[in-house]
Amino acid sequence: MLTISQELVDKIVAHARADHPDEACGVIAGRNGVPERFIPMENAERSPTFYRFDSMEQFRVWREMDDRDEEPVVIYHSHTATEAYPSRTDVSYASEPNAHYVLVSTRDEDQVEFRSYRILDGEISEEEVRFIP
């Protein structure tokens, strides 16, 4: 289960809306599995169907997390024309076994789809999301 504050959810959704129709991506860093620090990342692909963190930005952010004893608790990205469910490429490149993979869909202007998954060894398992104030 992912427990996450409404404030962080709002930030993820705002980022996804702002970058629509391109995919948005980023990280929520934290300790002991608790998502705390919102880090929007640049989508180096600037694409409506693909995302990739810029390699130098990723290096800086990962080193900063290391220095602060944090981990990437949440890795999020948006789908802009399809449902908030991991695509085949999402599964094949999933490389953080401890992360919650959050998917947001911006295909509907009025409705938000916010879902979370574990992706391990090619297996997707959706998990419950608990929103806290």
Binding site: F53, S55, M56, F59, R63, P86, N98
Partner: protein, 90 residues
Amino acid sequence: MAIEVRIPTILRNYTDGAKAVDAEGATLDDLITNLESRHPGIKDRLVDESGLRRFVNVYLNDEDVRFLGGLGTPLSDGDTVTVLPAVAGG
């Protein structure tokens, strides 16, 4: 010539859980061969027939080796090599 190699979570099953290991090599290519002899299986996760795997980022100190010399990048004693799987998807 000792070079510190920082290992990402997903590859720590090859290093008995270690976050960083030492290895040797005059180039990145040599270093990976040396790593393989110490941690069998790891090489295949880093390179394929065409070179560095596309979705693996390797950094020498603070630089992405793709902007240096790729697998031919020369290394020196005291360097740090960091491996990070690219975060990507569709």
